[in-house]
Point group: D2
């Protein structure tokens, strides 16, 4: 099976390495070409179109809607180069509107489209522990199974691409919402002289223990907002995509609206380099605490 | 060890039964006396004071601040009857202000006070699966260990009573906040034609799985708001206690403020008998869905 | 007509002076006795009860519910001293619950009760420009007309005391809400390099011009938060009374809930001495601006 | 002076009529051509480009960003047809981003651009009572003065187009925010048995009286949401433009975020034909009241 991987960022590079390691024939392309060196065993292509020549499946893992539009619909893009009967697997977190547009455009070109955004950070990508949320035609999903098996620990299937994209956006909304509610609770605890890490322990060992609560609760309790696993500015992007999807659906998301204001306040304070758990820094300041706890030496 | 249990509601009765079963000498009292029959093997007392005669530990499990104040400070109350050197274990979810006042009043009377609110519903109480959040003097906490062991699966210790009460209030806030954010996400999914139970499955099997998400997510996905495990009106009370504690601490809780409005809207619609997961009925209506999904036969 | 004025703070003192000036026989009492000197021509009484001896109308202008309860129901309080057939005019901004309780207690004592909170700051009180929101029995309202005429520019009548108290609370909520929405708009303008005072001019000269917008808009545009005309901590009190009233009524006030969080954040930052327009300082910080604009010399 | 007016909707038509009446030579164009009949004395053109031939000033009054983009940048659009040295006056309420793009594009084409959105409903347009918020180069603003004098009661000048567009968006945000806060207060009053119209009278006659409060307060108090003066769906558009502008500026607008959820809830309930004051229908339902008061015969 011949594959192309377009986009070799923090997520795309380990995914491509795992695909090479699983024995696939892999062509890669990245906007800044030198990153291709990070995937030994793969062929570096000069353009998205060149990477797609003769492939069965082209995977994209790009930053946002604009990057995806450029790589698919732009000059030397995927749409014109992907063989009829082959399939584009879009792993980026994109708007439901673009997901729908991609499904339509690929169908018209006789190509398949699977939206396959993932849950998991770069470490999970490296360890083949991603969760894949895949939406598309059943035949395309079936065909992609060996690809998904090489990069993740499980796949959830949805009936079409926009619904998979929505599931991912709602998942990211829930991660940010967990940061918010944990932030509010742990900051109130801290003001009461109740050690946040102690409250977090109670929470995780009783009713609240989950990977999200354990990971992000710890970041919040320790105010460990740097270095970023997932940057605050990207978090805002995803919350705004969730709001936009909710807008189209006619479904209010008031906590997402509140989160949006938190992200804006954090960015206005110059914290775009923080992890998105860093919205808790604004919660801290609203409670009269410094944005980050000072550490005693 | 001689015990008194004051308050034999949905939580107090199974706790008292477990204490009898564990071999303790148990006196019981309830505002409506006939409920004493639900605890075979215990002595029914005529008043809180009568129940407390000669006991080592008196446990209270009552509805709210007003009920606790009445039973402790009122006529024939606990404060005047509890032997010096014995200990009051308050298991009700109460304000941090009352928790502080109880600690002070009992200390002045030569009695101990442990705030010991619990996480867990009546089924958990019956199955001895409660989580106990206990705050007080170390000696009092030590002395209560056999009591806690007979009713729960684990105890978390805090340095004083108000902090244990706060931890419980913040926990209840987090449960309600989970209902809110799950409600927003599952309702948006439903409007997109994405089966809520399916999205919930993705959430619980990936990053979000926790007892709270599994239990309340299911209630929300199924709109199974009746019968109530924990009534909506009690949920409002606890959210308001959390807001009041946050107020004293100078720590804003904007999601709690939003929750308060949800509870008020649900109550204004006449849903005081719903489970507190039923605030999702208001989220549904805001999205143009009926408060409860209609079931096809 | 013989009057008593209880409470000689920033509002009570000018009101008492105007009543003396209008020719009434006025007794005054204040918790700190020396303030009686600020009302030349009035008799200083030793206690609320002493001030009420033989009066036709007793006016109270006190800080909050607790102060009113103390002065009315406490030792040497108004309730026991006011002659049958005379009337208590409560001008403080109090909870609807206390307003109801006062109406009941005075009725039982054969006394009248009029809730008569006012709109207007100390300058307006001095200039007899208060707006009086008066609720009570028609006969009591009629009897108080000459009193109101001596201190205000107009009176609005309501059918009972709790409704007058509610109208005042909702009015104060609307003032704070105007600060919030003006704050959001003027801060966004400032970030766009659009002079806030210029936008305010557009607003006040077109659709938005009102005394509230002109006064508070200017405080916000100039970040003139000190000295306080009405202290931020008092503003929080009133917003919380509005929330409590709304709670009893089953009517959500989400903007009031948001305001509460703003006040808490401002207080957590140590700004209790700011004017309540100073909640805009938190809006500014959320936008990455300093709490107060620096002035160039 | 030769003018073109593009867009003859509820606002554009009366504006064009006033310009004809003031003696200008006016060409008109509308997407649905028959509306040109509503402006007797004007020449009907076949396309935006045709209308712009030889004009000094071209005014556009269109529904949204998309319509403006189509008319300016599309085939037979304004940009290619407007004579060098002439000026485009954009009166639509558009995004700050489009306002900036228009300023740049027209400058590059040797044309002037003035953003000149207005405050006022169709009645105000007919009565020449619009308030004009105009931003652009001083020479262009000067040149447009006689045009503005023919259609409005006053003009406010801003240094560039995006700032004028922002001022208008913030103004519309403030109108919607006034509906929200009045709605919350009047609904709480109604639940207390306090006639909303009575409370509104108190508000308008004391500190709060302004055209916005009087007009929208009345619509809310009477639940007179139909027919729409300005449709709810257009209100959502403007609130979202304000949020988007705030996003670019890094200035949170939490009340706008709350408003957005209100609009979505109203639309989800099928009320797109309501006046935007109709967001109060959702506030009513959250308080357990019917969306519209029933009238007694």
């Amino acid at each position: 099976m011949r594959l192309a991987v377009l986009g070799l960022g923090a997520m795309g590079a380990p995914i491509a390495r795992n695909l090479v390691h699983a024995g696939f024939d892999v062509a890669v392309w990245n906007r800044t070409a030198e990153r291709a060196r990070e995937v030994p065993g793969a062929r570096a292509a000069r353009s998205p179109a060149a990477a797609c020549e003769g492939v069965d499946v082209a995977l994209t893992m790009l930053a946002d809607d604009a990057a995806v539009e450029q790589v698919i619909f732009g000059r030397d893009g995927v749409l014109g180069a992907l063989p009829r009967g082959s399939c584009h697997v879009g792993m980026s977190t994109i708007s439901t509107a673009l997901s729908r547009r991609l499904a339509d455009a690929h169908a018209q070109a006789g190509q398949g489209f699977v939206a396959a955004p993932v849950f998991g950070r770069p470490e999970a990508a490296a360890a083949r522990l991603l969760w894949i949320v895949a939406g598309g035609a059943r035949a395309d999903l079936d065909r992609c199974e060996p690809v998904f098996a090489a990069i993740g620990q499980g796949t959830f299937r949805f009936a079409d691409a926009p619904r998979a994209s929505l599931a991912k956006l709602l998942g990211n909304f829930l991660i940010a919402a967990n940061v918010e509610i944990l932030g509010e609770a742990l900051v109130a605890a801290e003001k009461a002289g109740l050690e946040p890490a102690r409250l977090l322990e109670v929470l995780t060992r009783t009713l609240f223990g989950s990977p999200v609560v354990e990971r992000y609760g710890r970041l919040v309790a320790d105010t460990a907002f740097e270095p970023a696993g997932f940057r605050l500015s990207l978090g805002l992007k995803d919350v705004e995509l969730a709001l936009r999807a909710a807008d189209e659906l006619g479904a209010p998301l008031p906590v997402a609206a509140l989160l949006r204001e938190r992200f804006l306040a954090a960015l206005a304070a110059g914290r775009e380099h923080y992890d998105w758990a860093g919205i808790a820094s604004v919660i801290r300041e609203d409670a009269g605490l410094p944005p980050v706890r000072s550490r005693t030496p």
